[in-house]
Every structure is written in C-alpha cells, then in structure tokens.
Amino acid sequence: MAQEVSCLKAQLREKEEEIVRLKNKLAQLEQVRTELFDKVIPLTPLKAKAALSNDDIMRYSRQLLLPELGVQGQLNLSKTSVLIVGCGGLGCPLAQYLAAAGIGRLGLLDYDEVELSNLHRQVLHGEKNQGQAKALSAASAVKRLNSTVECIPYHLQLSPENALQLIQQYPAANPLTYICYAGQTLPLVSASALRLEGQLTVYNYCGGPCYRCLYPVPPPRETVTNCSDGGVLGVVPGIMGCFQALEVLKIASGQVSSCCQKLVIFDAQDAKFRSIKLRPKQAGCAVCGERPSVTQLVDYEAFCGTAATDKCRKLSLLSRDQRITIQDYKSIVDNAEPHLLLDVRPLVEVDICHLPVSLNIPLLSLEEKKSEDIRLLKERIGQLKKQMSGDCQPPVYVICKLGNDSQKAVQVLEKMSGSEVDSITVKDICGGLMAWAKRIDPTFPQY
C-alpha cells in the first residue's frame, strides 16, 4: 500500500513537471507569435482541425447553432488565413470580429504607429498603445480576445517588392487601400470610409470585376481626400469594417458573399444602405483581361501619383520669396509690425482653434470671390494701409493648418492684388498653424 502511494506520488510529480515544461514551451511559442515582423516571413500552411474541441464548442456555440454556419463552417474558419492590410478604422473592427468568430490566422499589416487622433475610430488601440506599432497593438488586443487565433503582425507598407510573397500566404486578402495585382484571383474584400459615407466591394470574386476593371484610370491626385484632411466619424469605418468581417466570414466558412459584382454604399447621415449592380470582369482589363498589359506588379504610388498612406501631402506651389517661416512670422508679431493675418481654413476648423488676430476667409470663398468676403478683405486692407506710412504695400500673411491651402490662397490673392483689392504683398506661412503649435506655442492645440 505504502509503496503504491509513493509510486503514485512520484508519477504525479513527473506529470506536474511535464505540465510546467509544456506551459513554458507554449508561453515561448506565444511570445514568438506576437513578435513584430518588419519583413515578409515564410509561414507554415494552416492545418485543418479534425474536430472541434469542447472549448471550441462552448466558445462558438451561439454561432454553431446557425444552420448557415454549423460545425463544418466553423472548421472552415479555423483553417482560413486572412491578411488585413491597414489596422486602422476599418481593420480594427474587422480583425476583432474575425478573431472573435474563430478565424485560423490573421496577418495584421500596418506601417504606422498609434496616435491619439486614431483612437476615436481605431478601437483595438488604447491610450497606453500610443507610439506602438499599430500591427503589434492590434495583435495584442486580438490575442486578449481569442488566444487560439494565430496573429502575424507586420510593421511595413505593402509594396511591389513584398506584396506577392505576402498575399500568396493568405487565401482571403482584405487590403483596404488601392492595390491591384497581376495573376491573382484571391477575393479582395475592400472597403473605405470618409466623413459620413462608406463603400464596400468584393473584387476578384464570382465573375465580378477586379479593382482595375472598375477603375481603369486612377483619379487625379488632388481629388483624393484622406481622413486627416476630410474628417471621419469613427463609427462609420466601424460599420464598414464590421460589414467586411461579415463578408469575409461568409467566404471563409464556405458560403457565398452577397456582395459579388456589387458596390454597397452607406450614407450614415441618412442611415441608408444601397446596393449597386456593377459591371462584370472586363475582357479588356489591363490586369485580368484576355490580353493583359500589366503582367507584373506596378508601383502604385507612381501609377496614382500619390502616396499609399494616410499622411498629408506637402504642396510646393510657390517660390521661396513668396513664403516665410513660422519663426519669421513670430518676429513680425513680436515687433508689432502692421500686417493682416488671413486664415483660409473652413469655418469648422477655425472653431477648433485659431490665432486671435486672424481674419477668416475660407479658400473656397476666395476662389469663388464671394462678394461679402471680398468686401471685408478690402475693408481690412484699407484700414491697414491707413495705419502704415508712405506708399508701401500692406503685407498680408496667409495661414492654414499645414501650409497647403495657404499657398493656393496666395496665388488667388496675387491675382486680386491691384484689381479687386488694393495692391498688397502676399506671403504664405510655411507649415501653417501646426508649425505654430510645434515650434512657437506648445499650448496651441494640434489636430
């Protein structure tokens, strides 16, 4: 009896040691999995599960009850890899719902780091993640939600050099921005959101068009607005990202997406969804047509003439003597030199913050020569001229948020000078109010 007890005790000790060993191994593996990659790495193919575990059954029970999904659908999800390009306003809810539903593997790609101005819509990131790579922050949040989902965070930008190698490893790709690639027939569940509107299409799917079939020519770059310029209500990409998750789950579980050859338009202001029938795959398409002229990946930044990021562009319309630095403007203020400061941002931005001495006339009103605004401008230039001695031309300094619109306004004002208004000297303030906040007055708000 005593021998049997000590034998059992020895066996238990052995098993306990084994448990500790296995736990350490698992922790190490999980550590490796949340490592951040700055390049594409080879991945082992996902293995299909033979059956659901008891934990799986409990976790997914509420969706297993749906005949549209069922056990087979759930098993299909667990063997699907999805690449999410962009862990922002769309990518966050998309990753969240795919992980919650039990997708097998998520590639999470983003070149950017978390900023405070992201948090209103990029809901996987928190205050403590500021400065962290978005891909890593999203991966940690996804892991907290469902530790059985394999996450591969990539801290890089999709480029002609890495795209093919990367996308080939993910049977369902979800790039959120402008990509199109040769020889690939993976479904592309693509959405976008801006201001109070969203759009969604599933490309390369069930006879529907590819991106290039639908948009053979890129839009002029000045017509493309991003969220940091145009603004976006966070819940709008939230809704569109959830919509993407829905369509990915249908495709991954073995059902058919309802959005093939369709464009879904969401108008958040009117709470209206609309589904549009699109053209089919085009025989004459340069990428997927019968005689494609694009057979290799092209540099999309060069093709579209714009960066494939959400960062603001820097315009350069003026010569150096038509611009002054923010420090120059600070000296003008400090020396109390008579001048007119013209803020050309839209009223909604002026309400956020402005310099107290500025006169606000939005660029659009200047361009359209709105009579009320021109009268006001004339009046202020007249007052300034009276203050100044001699015949010198009153100086007008133009400011906006970053120094792009202000350059356009300088061009408009130079044409008006001497005709619609008295002769003036117009100069643009480089870097705009955000340069003022960064270099001159740290208490001035940034947005």
Partner: protein
C-alpha cells in the same frame, strides 16, 4: 422633337461638395430635337448646376476618373455609358470613390 425629361440626380462620396453640398437634385431637361443621352446630360450639368472647378467633375466629354456613374442603381457600363438615352423619372447617381478609413 423629344419631350422634356424629368430626372433625379444624386451626388455622393464627396462629389456633392461641387454642388454646394446638395446631394439630391430634381431637374427637368428641356425639350430638344434629339433625345437626351448621358453625354448631353454632362454638358447640361456643367452649364446649369456646376459653376466652379469643372475639372473636378468632367474630363473631356466624360466624367473624371474616380467618379462612378450609376443609372437606376446599376453601373453605367451595363447601360451604354455616355450613349444611354435618358427616360423620364430616371435616377442618375454620380459617386466619387472613397479612399482610406
């Protein structure tokens, strides 16, 4: 002589900003010798609704790249594009593609 055509125009995805932010327009195209088609409609819109910066809406005799035209909830490519003959009560949507999120 073709009779006047009453149609419903809609602008979205930011294209409405070229029309003072007004998304929906009910318009009547006057009677003319030829039947109205989309090509003529684009000229009419430029002359009557779009006062500023036409280059943000049209390019040559078509819409600029990045604007999708929908005729009665279908891609205009399925309907004959510029040659589609407008019918009374047609719904024509001009939607600018969104990027990012």
């Amino acid at each position: 002589m073709a009779a006047p055509v009453a149609i419903h125009l809609e602008f979205g995805g930011g294209a409405e900003l070229l029309f003072n932010g007004v998304k929906e327009h009910h318009v009547t195209l006057p009677s003319q010798s030829e039947p109205w088609d989309v090509k003529q409609l684009l000229v009419w819109i430029q002359r009557n609704l779009l006062k500023e910066r036409p280059e943000l809406f049209v390019q040559g005799d078509s819409v600029r790249p990045g604007i999708l035209v929908l005729i009665n909830d279908a891609d205009w490519e399925l309907m004959g594009e510029l040659d589609y003959r407008l019918q009374d009560q047609d719904n024509i949507v001009f939607i600018s593609t969104l990027h990012g999120g």
